[in-house]
């Protein structure tokens, strides 16, 4: 399992992923509410998969 606060570099990488995910959710939500929900689920799933390594 990946630990995002193991080192500064890992934390920085995690931050970049969160920023990218937030942009995806914001764009999807601007197009359609349910698309935003789907985008959020997709992004959270992706982050969970990344954390599991």
């Amino acid at each position: 399992m990946r630990n995002p606060i193991r080192s500064e570099a890992e934390a920085f990488r995690f931050l970049l992923l969160v920023v990218a995910g937030a942009i995806v959710i914001a764009v999807c939500a601007a197009l359609n509410t349910w698309l935003g929900v789907a985008g959020a689920v997709l992004v959270l799933g992706g982050l969970a998969a990344w954390l599991r390594g």
Partner: protein
Amino acid sequence: MTTLEHAEGLAHDDEHHGPPEPQYSSRVHPSVLGMFLFIGSEIMLFGAFFTAYFFVRVVAGTAWPTPPFHLPVFVALINTCILVTSSFTMHWSLQSIKRGNVFGMRAGILLTFLMGLTFLISQGREYSRAGFAPKDGAFATIFYCLTGLHGAHVFVGLSILLFMTIRAFRGHFSPENHHGVELAGIYWHFVDVMWIVVFLTVYVL
């Protein structure tokens, strides 16, 4: 205990200085366990506030923002850019000291501190011009609670950064010894991640 064993014990005592060796009752290393507890407590803290936010907005169906109030989205977006940029300078600072570039480390950590300070001052200015107070309904209360909780974390991060900046200019860090910068960086990125989530939920969605 034989005389020989007793003598070996005494010899061992002579070699060991300081407190006795710790006894670990868990298979998880204490530093890792402490980190997990820290993450857990922060998730619960922010989670409680986000639960209140989703209850107010989704379950109760409160208009967001409640008319006639408006959220200063543009100022918050500029603040977001400042905070994300400060994470880049923080990362630059640590990479610099790892390569032995003391000037880069000092410049990076000072810029990070100044950008964090700008964020906090800007947020204070935003509060004074928001046109609503925490007592003005559920929307206003949740808004100030979420952004204020994050602001408190930024204040803690700035305090850490201030100490690290002073230490950096006093020459306390080297390519071999820069643990303080690393820890400050981890905390600062964590604060930044939390702001992205707060900004997305409070201002954008």
